[in-house]
C-alpha cells in the first residue's frame, strides 16, 4: 500500500492485454484473465460510473442520471455544514492516529523484544485476532462499557468518583476511544515488524557506549523505525477517515462523519450524484494523503 501502488492505478486498466502476449509463457493470459475480469467489473467500472454520477445533476423525480457539471463539488465546498463534517472527520482521525502511535510504540516494542517465543506468539495473536473480529462486534463491546449503566460508569459510581452517570456513549470521545481499539492492532503490526528488523545489536552497541535506555530508544531505535512509524500512522489515519460502523454505533445518529454521510445520501436521501461526490472527496483525501506522505517519506528515508 505505497505510493507506487496508488499512482499505478490510473494506468492499470489499460495493461491487461499487453503483458499477457509478451509474457514469458503463453498460459499467462488465461491465468490472469479471471481475476482481472473480477476487479475490472466489480471495482474499476463501478468507480468510473460513479465518477460520472458525481458530475450529474440531481433531480428527485427523474430515474435517469442527467446533466454534467461540478455543481455537487461546489455544493460540498461551498457549504460550511459539509466542510465541518470533513474537518471533524479529519480531526477525529488525527486524534486517533496520535493516540494509536503513543500506545502502539510500547506494545510493538515489547512484542519484538520478548524473549519467550510462546509469549510472543500469544501477543501477536492477541493483536491479530481482534483486528479480524469485525467492527460491529467491537462496537457492541464499547457500547456495553461506555453506556450510562455500563461498566465504566458503574465502576466510577461504586468507587465514589462520580455521583451521577457521566455521558460517554454517543459523544466524540467515545468515537475516538472506539476507533483507537479498531486501529491500534494495525499500528502494532506495522511497528512490530520494523522493530523486529532493527534487532537488538544497535541497542547493545549504544548501551556499550554508555547510552541510557531512553536515550538509546529515542536516538537510535526510533529513528531507525521511522519508516514503520509513518506507514503505521498513514494506515491508521486512512482507516479512521473511512470508518463507518464505529461512528454510526458509538457516535449515535447526531455524530456526523464522512463515511456514514455517503450511505445516508445514497440509501436514505436517494441523492446518488451527491453520494458519489462525497465518496470521491473521501477517496481523494485518502489518496492525496497517501501519495503526499509517501513522496515526502521517499525523500527522507529512501524507498520504503
Amino acid at each position: 500500500m505505497t505510493a507506487a501502488t496508488m499512482v499505478d492505478e490510473g494506468g492499470a486498466a489499460a495493461a491487461p492485454g499487453r503483458p499477457v502476449r509478451r509474457g514469458p509463457r503463453s498460459d499467462a493470459g488465461w491465468l490472469l484473465a479471471p481475476s482481472l475480469a473480477l476487479v475490472l467489473a466489480g471495482l474499476m467500472l463501478p468507480l468510473v460510473l460513479m465518477a460520472r454520477y458525481s458530475l450529474a445533476h440531481f433531480d428527485p423525480a427523474a430515474t435517469e442520471v442527467s446533466g454534467f457539471g461540478v455543481e455537487n463539488y461546489t455544493r460540498f465546498f461551498g457549504d460550511p455544514f459539509y466542510l465541518w463534517i470533513l474537518a471533524r472527520t479529519l480531526t477525529v482521525a488525527l486524534a486517533c492516529t496520535a493516540i494509536c502511535l503513543l500506545l502502539g510504540v510500547p506494545a510493538a516494542y515489547v512484542i519484538s523484544r520478548v524473549p519467550s517465543r510462546r509469549l510472543k506468539t500469544a501477543l501477536i495473536l492477541a493483536t491479530v485476532i481482534p483486528l479480524l473480529m469485525g467492527n460491529a462486534v467491537r462496537a457492541a463491546g464499547w457500547m456495553v462499557l461506555l453506556a450510562d449503566k455500563g461498566l465504566i460508569n458503574s465502576a466510577l459510581l461504586v468507587t465514589g468518583v462520580i455521583s451521577e452517570p457521566v455521558r460517554i456513549l454517543y459523544t466524540g470521545s467515545a468515537v475516538v476511544i472506539g476507533l483507537i481499539a479498531v486501529l491500534l492492532p494495525f499500528m502494532i503490526i506495522s511497528l512490530q515488524s520494523v522493530f523486529e528488523g532493527i534487532g537488538e545489536t544497535y541497542e547493545e552497541a549504544a548501551a556499550t557506549m554508555g547510552a541510557r535506555p531512553w536515550t538509546t530508544f529515542f536516538r537510535v531505535t526510533l529513528p531507525l523505525a521511522m519508516p514503520g512509524v509513518f506507514s503505521g500512522c498513514l494506515l491508521c489515519f486512512v482507516l479512521a477517515v473511512n470508518a463507518y460502523a464505529t461512528p454510526v454505533l458509538i457516535g449515535g445518529p447526531s455524530f456526523q462523519m464522512m463515511a456514514p454521510k455517503v450511505y445516508e445520501q445514497a440509501i436514505k436521501v436517494y441523492n446518488w450524484p451527491f453520494a458519489a461526490t462525497l465518496a470521491f472527496i473521501l477517496m481523494g483525501v485518502t489518496f492525496a494523503l497517501t501519495v503526499l506522505s509517501s513522496i515526502t517519506l521517499q525523500k527522507r528515508y529512501g524507498a520504503l
Partner: protein, 274 residues
Amino acid sequence: MQHTGISVTRSFRPAMIGGCILAFVMVLAPLVAIIWVSFFENKIISFPPTGYTLSWYATAWEMPRFRDGFATSLKLGVLATAISLAVGIPASVVLARGRFPGREAIQSLLLAPLIVPGIVAGAAFYMFLIEAEIVTGVQVATTFTGLVIAHSLIALPWTVRLVTASLLGVDPQLREAALTMGARPFTAFRRVTWPVIRPGVVAGALFSFVVSFVDLEKSIFLVGPGTTTLPIVIVNYLEWSVDPTIAAVATVQIALIAAGLIITDRYFKLARAF
C-alpha cells in the same frame, strides 16, 4: 541531576511494559466485555449482574434473523473464498514467476480492493448494479449474486498477497527442472509448487473467509430482504438496543473466528500476513 538520570534509566522498562499493557487493554476490552455480558442473567445490562445464565444463546438461536444472517454470511464466506482462490491462485502463480511488462500494474490492480475504501467501493458497486438492472431488466442489485461478487472482491487481495508471498519461497528452477524432465505444467504445479504454497493458500483462504464474514461497509448497500448478512443484522439490532442476546451472537462470532485463526497460526504465522 544524577538522581533524575538514574530514575529515568529505570523508568524505561516499566514505561514500555505499562504502555503495552494499556494498548492490549484497549484492544481486548470490548471483546472481553461483550463475552462477559452474554452470560448475564438480567436482560437490561447493569453491573454487577444479578446472576449468570446460558439462556441468551438459546434465545439468539431462536431468532430467525440471527440464524438467517449467520447462514447467509456462512454461504457467502465459503463462496467468496472459493472464487477468490480459483481466480487468485493462478494470478499469483503468474505474478510470482517474474518480471514482465505491466506486472506491477496488474499486481496493484489485484490489490486495489484493499486500497479503495470499503464504503466507496460498496456505493460504486451498488450504483453499477442498479444501472445494470435498468439496462438488462434483470434484478441483480440486492441479490445474493451481487453479494457474492462484492465479497469475492474483498477476499481476492488477501489470497493474492498470501499466495504470492509463499510463492516467493519457491525456487523457480525447481519448476523449470520438472518441466525439462517432461512434466506437464499442471503436474509440475501439483508436485513442485503446490506443497510449498499450501500454507499460504490455507492462510489466504482463512483470511478471505474472515474478511468476507465480518464485512460491513461493502455489504451494507447490497443486502436486501432474505439476503442480509450477520454483521448487518448485528448493526441493525445495535441501533435499537444492546442486550445479552446480541452479546451472545457476538460471542459466537468471536469464538469461531478466534478458533480459526489460532488453528491457522500453527501452519502459517499470522504476523507474516500483514
